[in-house]
């Protein structure tokens, strides 16, 4: 059993990230703590057999739109590199799209070894100031989630380093 993590980001301008940044700075007064916002999609796909590297390639072919996206595969680990704080936002209620993705991989494309698919958005916050954790928390709770359906997790850099080993 392995978890294939597929990090996917846009190579064209990300209109959603631009709107989030604009809103945080222009409307929510985060100019002092925030320098930039980028975004990724994260698929975490559990498979119970098969070569995860090979499967990851096949999944990427289906889930990544090469015209506008690039991606990175991480097997059984999840790490981020860069001067940002990654905030992972996902649904805590049932994620219909993730279930659809699983069904598509299993049924339409025949990957019966796919056990589950989880989806999340990774908001990459380029923060200013000393208390980055607090700033990330403020931004996540202020805009990035609606607590009645979403949960978030600040993926600290130190923790990622340990994960990536």
């Amino acid at each position: 059993m392995s978890t294939i993590n597929l990090r996917v980001w846009l190579i064209i301008p990300d209109a959603e990230a631009a709107t989030v940044k604009n809103t945080l700075i222009r409307r929510m007064g985060c100019g002092d703590i925030l320098a930039d916002v980028k975004k990724e999609r994260l698929f975490s796909i559990d498979v119970d057999s098969g070569d995860p590297e090979v499967l990851a390639k096949a999944f990427a072919k289906e889930l990544v739109n090469e015209n506008k996206e690039s991606h990175k595969v991480l097997i059984d680990t999840l790490s981020f590199e860069g001067a940002y704080v990654p905030v992972k936002v996902s649904l805590h209620i049932e994620d219909g799209e993730a279930i659809s993705t699983r069904d598509r991989l299993r049924n339409r494309l025949g990957f019966k070894n796919v056990m589950s698919v989880k989806k999340a958005t990774i908001w990459k916050l380029y923060l200013k100031g000393d208390d980055k954790e607090r700033a990330a928390k403020e931004i996540a709770e202020g805009l990035l989630i609606n607590p009645h359906k979403d949960s978030y997790e600040i993926l600290s850099l130190a923790e990622d380093a340990s994960l990536s080993r």
Binding site: I12, P13, A15, A18, N65, R108
Partner: protein, 823 residues
Amino acid sequence: MGRKPFKPFAFDSPFAFSLVNFATGQLPPTGIDKFITVHSCITIQKRCTLVKIIGLTDQEAEANLRGSGLGMSVTEARSIAKVLNRDPTLAELFCYDAMWSEHCSYKSSRATLREFLPTTGPNVVMGPVEDSGIVAIDDQWCVAISHESHNHPSQVLPNEGAATGIGGDVRDVNCMGATVVATADPLRFGDPYGPQANKVRWVAEGVVDGIWQYGNALGVPNIAGDIVFDESFDFNCLVNVVAIGIVKRNEIIRSRAPKGAGEKGYDVILVGKPTDASGLGGVTFASEALREEDEATNRGAVQIPDPFLKNVLFKANDDLFRLVREVGVEIGFKDLGGGGFTCATSEMGSAAGYGMELDLDLMHKAGDFPSEVLCIAETQERFLIISPRELREKILKIYNEDWDLPNVYEGARASVVGRMTSDGRFVVKHKGQMAVDVSIQHLTSGIRYQREEKPPVKSFSEPVAEEPREYNDVMMKILGSPNIASREHVYRYYDTEVMGNTVIRPGEADAGLIAPVRGEKFGVALAADSNPFYGRISPYWAGATAVAEVMRNIASVGATPSCLTDCLNFGNPEKPEAFWEFREAVKGLAEACKRIWLKGYADQPVPIVSGNVSFYNESPAGSVDPSPVVACVGIIKDYNKAVTMDLKGAGDKLFLIGPRYDELGGSEYYRTILGETGANVPIVRFDLEKKMIYAVIDAIDQGLVASCHDISNGGLAATVAEMALTRPAAFGLEIDLGKAADASMRTDKIMFSESSGFVIEAKPGSETRLAEVMKGCGLDLMEIGSVTGSRRIVMRRNGKNVVDLDLDLARKVWVEGLTEAMR
């Protein structure tokens, strides 16, 4: 090589404006001209790198062209160099390549279209000369219509491809000054149960998603369209999009530079999304056959849609139109579509006989791109304005401040990018260098090819098969077939209600109907149609039946066909067989338009006011079935008189108009039940067709029709069944097949012949008047049965039940047929 001496710019050249940062919208406070004289003018001495053509062998030139990423032929490149009298720049070649592509220049098709298609008529306000055709509704109001294909992009990236198809088509309508009020989407996908099932379903799902996500967010209702599945579309889906708009006759805005623009040096203003490299080569891409290994590289050719920005742009455009009306000046306004910046600017200039000087440094863009990219990239959500200098600040304010484009989409805005000239040159500067300097007429006049035509060697024969012993199963199979089943699975994604104008929605009748102007009684009906299976046997009859059926669709709700558009989807025109198919279909279309007259005007054809040709819909596995897709706009004087196809009341009588003939070639019955194509394709009996259409319109106008459905795919049997199955599905029906044809016709042929016709439901007591209307049009009214209170669909012949279906079971199969096919 002789280099053409370069003419220095005049003192008030817009290129000098680049000293001011127009990209940020910072205007000099006063007197632009004075400002420029202070800084003197720029004289460009350096031309961008030239692509060597002159003096090379064909092979070397070919290598040079391909090495530069150009698709044009060596002959074409040589003809350009000859006219320029020098080697062209890379940007020039890209501009020509885009402008001379099949998509922009109709180089293979134009002669045929001109030869056959009727494009004028008493109601035509503007024929197929600009982005949309326009016909009059009454003395004041007009409908603008555009019909485009986005087949190749949608096959590779279904969601973005289909979405930008809608996006481009609605821009074509909006740029005429019209309010876009409806769309329709005729779609063709491969066999969802065939060898390419996975890919086909991926394409179908993505296309439908792209259409609803774009159209719903934009806020324009999708009210018509159809979906056909067939293996000939396994590798080439067809995504055709129709958009219609409403505009007052005296408020139409032209897609060309206004009179005096050149002499007075009007501004050229680019509005919308910052230009990027997206969609680069989209035009040349649409004109080449797809090979599977190309898919990865072709993906770079697809544009990125943004309906949200478009929604805001449309509202800003409304303010622009209002400003122009208030001030009382004429502007030129055009969307940027295929061929990007070059196509929009040069066509606007050349249409008025002017030239223009443009500066790419003034363009707002998403990054640092080479000139050739900026010239022809197909970045979405952009418009071009040609307007008098005195309106500049007001126009920039509308987009940059009132509608705050820069904060709505990063980098979006309106920028002055150049000015009109009267010297007929198309001049583009970039980074102080000359990127393009060509004759605007030469660039836009395109080239023509006389393609060869040859009928393909194909033979078709009628199947030899026994009549089925049992028809209930046959009926259920037909009703559940992906091509007959209810389209509900798809149209529940479409916001068919937005704008609040919708009177008849998809699924309720053969055409959609809107009441687009509050306070006016008229309704505008829209339908689209084409049958690829007929096309396979006879492209001529496919063209003619498409016109006839789409007019029947319009008549079925009570509207009068007013104009048509055609989107002609074929294979590679360089192959004589494909070109023959194209010409045959066009002949069929034209013949039907000319012989089914515009109602109320004897001998006047129903005009084709807009259209599109899509060639190269083929892969190594073969080409698509000839698909002349036709859309029709109809007008009903009072939308309250319109009827739908659902049965209205037990005891009502059912009538057939249109005799049954042995015409099952390409029929649903032959294909689904017998697995054959057949040969006897339905033909159009033009005089009969005209009488039937007129009679139905008149009968509905006189209030004699409770419901109406035209006979097409699946024949009479599927037609009556659909009337019972359509919501609310509250009634059953009984018909006597013996009354629909004479005794010599086999039951299966009566039921499933796809000869044209209508089934009408009428209240008891109205038969006499209905018969009078029919007689007045020279037709016989055949009473074939009645609506019942039992929940059964019953068809009899000679006193015996041939079909007896439970309405609810039949409805389940009919509703789930498409859901299953797209799962």
